[in-house]
C-alpha cells in the first residue's frame, strides 16, 4: 500500500528500517493476520480431535500444547497486534498528526514481535514439546511440572510484553503531544479515546505479567519459591498476579474494538454517535473496574466469603457501563438512515454476539452459579463470544471500512457480505452448542469427552471448519482488492464517514498532515 513515488525506500530495507506509521501499521496487520491463521490452524487441530469421542489424531499431551498455543497466539499474536496496527495507521490520521511521536521506537516495537513468536512456535519442536499448561499457565503445572521449553516461553512473553509496552507508550505520547490545534480531548474520535485508555491499561499491567513470568523463571532456575508451598510460597499467588494482569488484558482486547464499532456504526447510520461523552466515561469506568475484579476467575480456589462477595459485586457492576455502550450504539442506529455494507454487517454481528457474551459474562459473575460454570465449555463459549465475535468481528469490520482509504481500491462487496454471513453462521454453529455442553457438565481443555457430549461437539467442529474456511475468503478478498480492486478516489469513501482521516486524498499518501489540519467541528457531532 502507500504510493511508491513519494517517500518510501525501495526493497526490503523499506520495511526493515521504516519509521512511517503507515508502513508499520501495515506490517502489524499482516503479521497479526498470519498469527490469526496460525492460531486458527491450532484451533482446527483441536476441533478435529474433538470431532468424535475417542482419541483419533493427536495424543493428549499434544492436544494440551495446541490449546495453549492457540490461546497464546490468538491473544498476544493476533488480536493485540492487529489493534496496534490499526492504531498506527489511524491515530495520526485521526488527530491530524504527521506520524507517531516516537517513530524509531515504533519500528523496534514491531520488529521484536516476529522473533518472539518464532521462538514460541519453535517450542513445538523441542524436547518435551511446547508449553502445555494452558494460556493461563497456572503454577505449579507451568513451573515444577513444565517441559524445558517453558524457559523459551517465558522469554517470548517478556519480548512481546516489551513490544506491547513500547507500542502503548508511543500511542499515549502521540495522543498527548501530537494532536492538531483545536483537537481537544473531547473532540477526539472514540477510537482514539478507547486506544488511549487501553494503552494506559497496557502500561500498567504488562509489567505485572512480566513480573509473574520472572517469578516463574526464578522458581524454575534460581531456587526461589514464589509459587511453591514447599519453600513458603503459594500457587494461588500466581493466579492472583496472573489475573491482576489478565482481567485488564481482557479489556485491552475489547476496548479498541468498542472504538472501531463507535466509528463505523455512525458512518452507516449517517447520524452522529449517540452519547459521545458517556461513551468516554463508560470506557474509563470499565478500565477502572477491570483492576478490582480479577478474582472472579478464581471463585473455586477457596477464597474467604468476604472476598467472593466483593469480587462478585464488583464484577456485576461492569454490566452497567457495558450496557450504556450497547444502548448508545443502538440509539445511534435509531432513526438513522441505515445501509448495510460489509463493515456495518460485521458491526451489527458484533453488537448481537457481544451482547450475548455480555449476558453469559453476567451469569458467570454470580459466584454460586459459577461453581457450576467454572472451567466448563460454558466459559469457553462465553469468552469466544466476546473475543471472536467481539474483537475479531470488529477488527474485520475495520479492515473492510478503512481498506479503501488505505489502498485506494474498493473490495468486492458481494464477497465481503458472503464472508460476513459464512462467518456469522459458522461462528454460531461453533460456539452456541458449547453453552449447552458446558452447562451439561463438559470441562474445558479435555482431549476426549463422555458420549452425551458427542453430537454438540461434532456440530461445534463442523462450525469451526466453516468459520475457519471463511477466513480464507477474507484473505482472498483483501489481496484481490489490493492487487486489482476497483479504484476509488473520493476522499470520503463512505458517504457517512466523518473524521480527519477522510479529509486526506485516497489512497492515503505516504505522508499526511505534514501541516496540521484545521479541525473542522467537534467530533462529538460527527
Amino acid at each position: 500500500m502507500g504510493d511508491h513515488h513519494h517517500g518510501p525506500a525501495q526493497g526490503i530495507s523499506r520495511w526493515l528500517f521504516t519509521t512511517n506509521h503507515k508502513d508499520i501499521g501495515t506490517m502489524y496487520l499482516w503479521f497479526s493476520f498470519a498469527m490469526f491463521l496460525l492460531g486458527g490452524f491450532f484451533a482446527m487441530v483441536i476441533r478435529a480431535e474433538l470431532f468424535q469421542p475417542g482419541m483419533q489424531l493427536v495424543e493428549p499431551g499434544f492436544f494440551n500444547q495446541m490449546t495453549t498455543l492457540h490461546g497464546l497466539v490468538m491473544v498476544f499474536g493476533a488480536i493485540m497486534p492487529s489493534f496496534v496496527g490499526l492504531a498506527n495507521w489511524l491515530i495520526p490520521m485521526m488527530i491530524g498528526a504527521p506520524d507517531m511521536a516516537l517513530p524509531r521506537m515504533n519500528n523496534w516495537s514491531f520488529w521484536i514481535l516476529p522473533p518472539a513468536f518464532l521462538m514460541l512456535a519453535s517450542t513445538l519442536f523441542m524436547e518435551g514439546g511446547a508449553p502445555a499448561f494452558g494460556w493461563t499457565f497456572y503454577a505449579p503445572l507451568s513451573t515444577t511440572y513444565a517441559a524445558p521449553s517453558v524457559t523459551f516461553f517465558i522469554f517470548a512473553i517478556h519480548v512481546l510484553g516489551v513490544s506491547s509496552i513500547m507500542g502503548s507508550i508511543n500511542i499515549i505520547a502521540t495522543v498527548m503531544n501530537m494532536r492538531a490545534p483545536g483537537m481537544t480531548y473531547m473532540k477526539m474520535p472514540l477510537f482514539v479515546w478507547t486506544w488511549l485508555i487501553t494503552a494506559f491499561l497496557l502500561v500498567a499491567v504488562m509489567p505485572v505479567l512480566a513480573g509473574a513470568v520472572t517469578m516463574m523463571l526464578m522458581d524454575i532456575h534460581f531456587g526461589t519459591s514464589f509459587f511453591s508451598a514447599a519453600g513458603g510460597g503459594d500457587p494461588v499467588l500466581f493466579q492472583h498476579i496472573f489475573w491482576f494482569f489478565g482481567h485488564p488484558e481482557v479489556y485491552i482486547i475489547i476496548l479498541p474494538a468498542f472504538g472501531v464499532v463507535s466509528q463505523i456504526i455512525p458512518a452507516f447510520s449517517r447520524k452522529p454517535l449517540f452519547g459521545y461523552a458517556s461513551m468516554v466515561y463508560a470506557t474509563a469506568s470499565i478500565a477502572f473496574l477491570s483492576f478490582v475484579v480479577w478474582a472472579h476467575h478464581m471463585y473455586t480456589v477457596g477464597m474467604p466469603i468476604a472476598g467472593e462477595l466483593f469480587f462478585m459485586y464488583a464484577t456485576m457492576l461492569i454490566a452497567v457501563p457495558t450496557g450504556v455502550k450497547v444502548f448508545n450504539w443502538i440509539s445511534t442506529m435509531w432513526r438513522g438512515a441505515l445501509s448495510f455494507e460489509t463493515p456495518m454487517l460485521f458491526c451489527i454481528g458484533f453488537l448481537i454476539l457481544f451482547t450475548l457474551g455480555g449476558f453469559t459474562g453476567l451469569m458467570l459473575s454470580i459466584a454460586p452459579a459459577d461453581f457450576q460454570y467454572h472451567d466448563t465449555y460454558f466459559v469457553v463459549a462465553h469468552f469466544h463470544y466476546v473475543m471472536v465475535a467481539g474483537a475479531v468481528f470488529s477488527m474485520t469490520a475495520a479492515i473492510y471500512y478503512w481498506l479503501p482509504k488505505w489502498c485506494g481500491r474498493m473490495y468486492n462487496e458481494t464477497m465481503g457480505k458472503t464472508h460476513f454471513w459464512i462467518s456469522f453462521i459458522g461462528f454460531n454453529i461453533t460456539f452456541f452448542p458449547q453453552h449447552f455442553v458446558g452447562l451439561a457438565g463438559m470441562p474445558r481443555r479435555i482431549p476426549d469427552y463422555a458420549l452425551q457430549f458427542a453430537d454438540f461437539n461434532m456440530m461445534s467442529s463442523i462450525g469451526a471448519f466453516i468459520y475457519g474456511a471463511s477466513q480464507l475468503l477474507f484473505l482472498y478478498n483483501v489481496v484481490a482488492t489490493i492487487v486489482a480492486g476497483k479504484s476509488v478516489s473520493d476522499e470520503k469513501v463512505w458517504d457517512g464517514a466523518e473524521g480527519l482521516e477522510w479529509t486526506v486524498p485516497t489512497p492515503a499518501p505516504y505522508h499526511t498532515f505534514e501541516e496540521p489540519p484545521l479541525v473542522p467541528k467537534p467530533v462529538g457531532t460527527i
Partner: protein
C-alpha cells in the same frame, strides 16, 4: 456418523431425550444444587428478557430506518435523561440479582458440623479418598479411570459411561452432612460433581473445604476441572450415594481388607 447426525436432529425434535443432548444445567439432587439451578435460571431469564427488548429495538431500527427505504437520518446525539435512566435501571436490576446470589453463597459457605469428613487428594491423574472420622488407620483408596484403552483408542465399542467410570468409587451415606477436605499431591486439580453442585480446587500444600448432603441414593459422575497435565481429561469422579446401613456395611468390609495402603 450419519447415525449421530440423525440422532442430533431427533434430539431437537423430541425434547424428552435430554440425557443424550442435555442443553441446560442439571438441578442436581441436593438442596444447594437446586438453589444454584434456580439462580442460574433466574439470571438467564432476566438476560433473555433484556436481550429481547434490546434486540427488538435494534431490529425495528434495521427494518424501519433503512436508507434504501428512503429514511432520512435524524441528527439527535445526546440526552442526559436517557443516559441516567439506562445507568440507574440496570443498576437496580443488578441489586435484584445480587440478593439471591448472596444468600445462595452463604449457604454454600455454611460450616455446620459434619458427620463425615473425607480427604480428597488429586494426583496426576487419579483421585485418592480418605475417610477421616474413624479411629485407627483411616480407610483410604485410589480411584482410577476404569475405561479401557481400547475404548479410548477406538478399537472397542465405547460403553455408556465412557470416561466417567472408575475402578473404586467414592461411597457416601445419604442424608448425612459430609465435609470434603480437598488438596493435591502435585499440581492443581479441581474436584467436581455437577449433580451435587460441589466444585473445589485441589491445591498442593493447602486444603480447601466443601460440603454436601445427598438426599437420594444414586450414582453421580463428574470430572477434574482444572487443567492438570496430559491426562487431565482422564481422571473422573464417581460417587455412589447409598443408605446408611449399606454405607456402614461397606465401611466395615473396607476396614476388614485394609492392606498395605499407606500414604502416597
Amino acid at each position: 456418523m450419519r447415525k449421530r447426525v440423525a440422532g442430533l436432529i431427533l434430539a431437537f425434535l423430541s425434547p424428552m431425550s435430554v440425557a443424550q443432548n442435555q442443553v441446560n444445567m442439571s438441578p442436581g439432587v441436593t438442596e444447594i444444587g437446586a438453589d444454584i439451578f434456580e439462580l442460574h435460571m433466574l439470571i438467564m431469564w432476566i438476560c433473555v428478557v433484556i436481550g429481547i427488548a434490546v434486540f427488538a429495538v435494534m431490529f425495528y431500527s434495521i427494518y424501519a430506518h433503512r436508507k434504501s427505504k428512503g429514511h432520512q437520518a435524524a441528527q439527535f446525539h445526546e440526552s442526559t435523561k436517557v443516559e441516567v435512566a439506562w445507568t440507574v435501571v440496570p443498576f437496580l436490576i443488578l441489586i435484584a440479582m445480587a440478593v439471591p446470589a448472596t444468600s445462595t453463597l452463604l449457604e454454600v459457605y455454611d460450616n455446620d458440623e459434619a458427620e463425615l469428613d473425607i480427604l480428597i487428594t488429586g494426583y496426576q491423574w487419579k483421585w485418592k479418598y480418605e475417610y477421616l472420622d474413624e479411629s485407627g488407620e483411616p480407610v483410604a483408596f485410589f480411584s482410577n479411570l476404569a475405561t479401557p484403552q481400547e475404548e479410548i483408542y477406538n478399537t472397542d465399542q465405547k460403553g455408556d459411561n465412557y470416561l466417567l467410570e472408575v475402578d473404586e468409587p467414592l461411597v457416601l451415606p445419604t442424608n448425612t452432612k459430609v465435609r470434603f477436605l480437598v488438596t493435591a499431591n502435585d499440581v492443581i486439580h479441581s474436584w467436581w460433581v455437577p449433580e451435587i453442585a460441589v466444585k473445589r480446587d485441589a491445591i498442593p500444600g493447602f486444603i480447601n473445604e466443601a460440603w454436601t448432603r445427598v438426599p437420594e441414593e444414586g450414582i453421580y459422575r463428574g470430572q477434574c476441572t482444572e487443567l492438570c497435565g496430559a491426562y487431565h481429561g482422564f481422571m473422573p469422579v464417581e460417587v455412589h450415594a447409598v443408605s446408611r446401613p449399606e454405607f456402614d456395611a461397606w465401611m466395615a468390609a473396607k476396614r476388614g481388607d485394609l492392606t498395605g495402603m499407606t500414604n502416597g
